[in-house]
């Protein structure tokens, strides 16, 4: 289908992109990889009046090591994250997750900043950002991930605010992302990420609510010495997922518990 007409402008700097967004108003959209935005525009679920293309901002397409942190530029493509030797060594969970996003064609285009800004409940990076206490850096400020994801497709970004980088901690202990889906390139029906960091487990859940969820009850149980299968029973504590075509709320809660157990076991089994 043909998207509705819009004005198009290429930004040559973050400042110019912000100016263009201010000029066009809140119905303008930033175009990065476009792999969430363009499908929505074709279905006319999104009809931005203007598109600000930031694909020329090569400064945002990089991965930097900064002490015990990794700074991932907003325009870094999934394929770059998946294959980055720095990410594989310092935060292998992120490389693993990047390799599970979409398919080759999607990973060649889709970006870190795009996924975070789009805030799809089934997005994979938001779960990692939340559970690892990542910071989302914009042209205006730094936002902790726990304050960033507000609701379904809703973030704390202002209309002329642009993500420039996402800052993750280094974590290379036991880890696993279990993404449950019908076909390889699908979004997660439910996903569970497990990462051991400084001796404690962090557990994040994908697509069990309007925003990513950190399974703190599981983390606490593991901290107190529970076995993974016992701790995982708490993965659905407090969840109220919406049902959809693929899974009922009860099934999603069941998956959260089962996949949490698998994620912890597989993470430990590997290292």
């Amino acid at each position: 289908m043909i998207p509705a007409a819009f004005e198009y402008a290429r930004a040559s700097s973050v400042e110019e992109a912000a100016k263009l967004l201010s000029k066009y108003g809140e119905d303008a959209k930033v175009l990065a990889g476009g792999h969430s935005l363009i499908p929505l525009m074709r279905l006319r679920l999104a009809q931005p009046t203007a598109i600000v293309d930031i694909n020329g901002l090569k400064d945002l397409d990089n991965i930097k090591e900064d002490g015990h942190k990794l700074r991932i530029g907003a325009l870094t493509r999934h394929v770059t994250i998946q294959n980055s030797s720095v990410i594989k060594e310092k935060l292998p969970l992120l490389a693993e997750v990047a390799g599970e996003v979409g398919d080759n064609q999607v990973r060649n285009m889709g970006t870190m900043g795009g996924v975070i800004a789009h805030a799809d409940a089934a997005g994979d990076y938001p779960t990692l950002a939340l559970m690892l206490d990542a910071d989302i850096v914009t042209n205006q400020r730094t936002i902790p991930a726990r304050e960033f994801f507000k609701d379904l497709f809703t973030t704390s970004l202002g209309p002329d605010e642009i993500i420039t980088e996402v800052v993750f901690p280094v974590a290379n202990g036991p880890h696993k992302y279990v993404k449950f889906r019908r076909r390889l390139f699908d979004w997660a029906i439910v996903g569970v990420a497990a990462q051991k960091i400084n001796g404690d487990w962090r557990i994040g859940l994908t697509n069990v609510g309007p925003t990513p969820v950190r399974a703190t009850a599981v983390e606490e149980a593991m901290h107190k010495g529970a076995k993974p299968e016992e701790a995982a029973q708490h993965a659905s504590d407090g969840l109220d997922p919406a049902g959809d075509l693929r899974a009922s709320p009860e099934y999603k809660k069941h998956l959260a518990r089962v996949l949490t157990k698998r994620a912890i076991n597989q993470a430990e089994g590997r290292q």
Partner: protein, 169 residues
């Protein structure tokens, strides 16, 4: 509002004025007459419209033509040279890696990208590498055989394992 878009497609330079909302696949098919790139699903899932943009496999239905400004594109029409099929095309022919053929251009371009990154993929790597392409005839077994055959002939043709294309991350 129309914008100029200049691209190199299969080695030929083209310049057009296009509406920003024009999808790249429509530009290829309607403005350049390159109808070998197919539109299958219109929802970014099936991969029938896969082409190479600066050597990387991309679904041309999920990119605006204006984003292709200055880019080097390769479509299925650019694969055969001097009347001779590309080894990937020949392998799809020899292994009967197609039934109705609708998805084939997309599969061949996705295979070209896969083999540029990984010249000797295992069966599992082929399946993963082509996960973004759907065959509604479900002819996957022969498609995988075709990729294996292409991999063999291409590495044989260069007399050694082909090296991974530079800049492929």
């Amino acid at each position: 509002m129309k914008l100029k878009v200049a691209t190199t497609v299969n080695g030929r330079r083209h310049e057009h004025e296009v509406e920003p909302r024009l999808l790249l696949v429509h530009h290829l098919r309607d403005n350049l007459g390159l109808t070998g790139t197919h539109i299958g699903c219109d929802t970014s899932q099936c991969g029938a419209c896969t082409i190479l943009v600066d050597g990387k496999a991309v679904k041309s239905c999920t990119m605006f033509a204006v984003q292709a400004e200055g880019k080097n594109l390769q479509t299925i029409e650019g694969m055969a040279k001097d009347g001779e099929l590309h080894p990937i095309q020949q392998a799809f022919w020899d292994e009967h890696g197609l039934q109705c053929g609708y998805c084939t251009p997309g599969f061949i371009m996705a295979t070209a990208y896969l083999l540029s990154q990984n010249p000797n993929p295992t069966e599992d790597e082929i399946r993963r590498g082509l996960e973004g392409n759907l065959c509604r005839c479900t002819g996957y077994v022969n498609i995988i055989k075709a990729v294996q055959t292409a991999s063999k002939t291409m590495s044989g043709a260069t007399g050694k394992k082909a090296t991974v294309a530079a800049g492929g991350n």
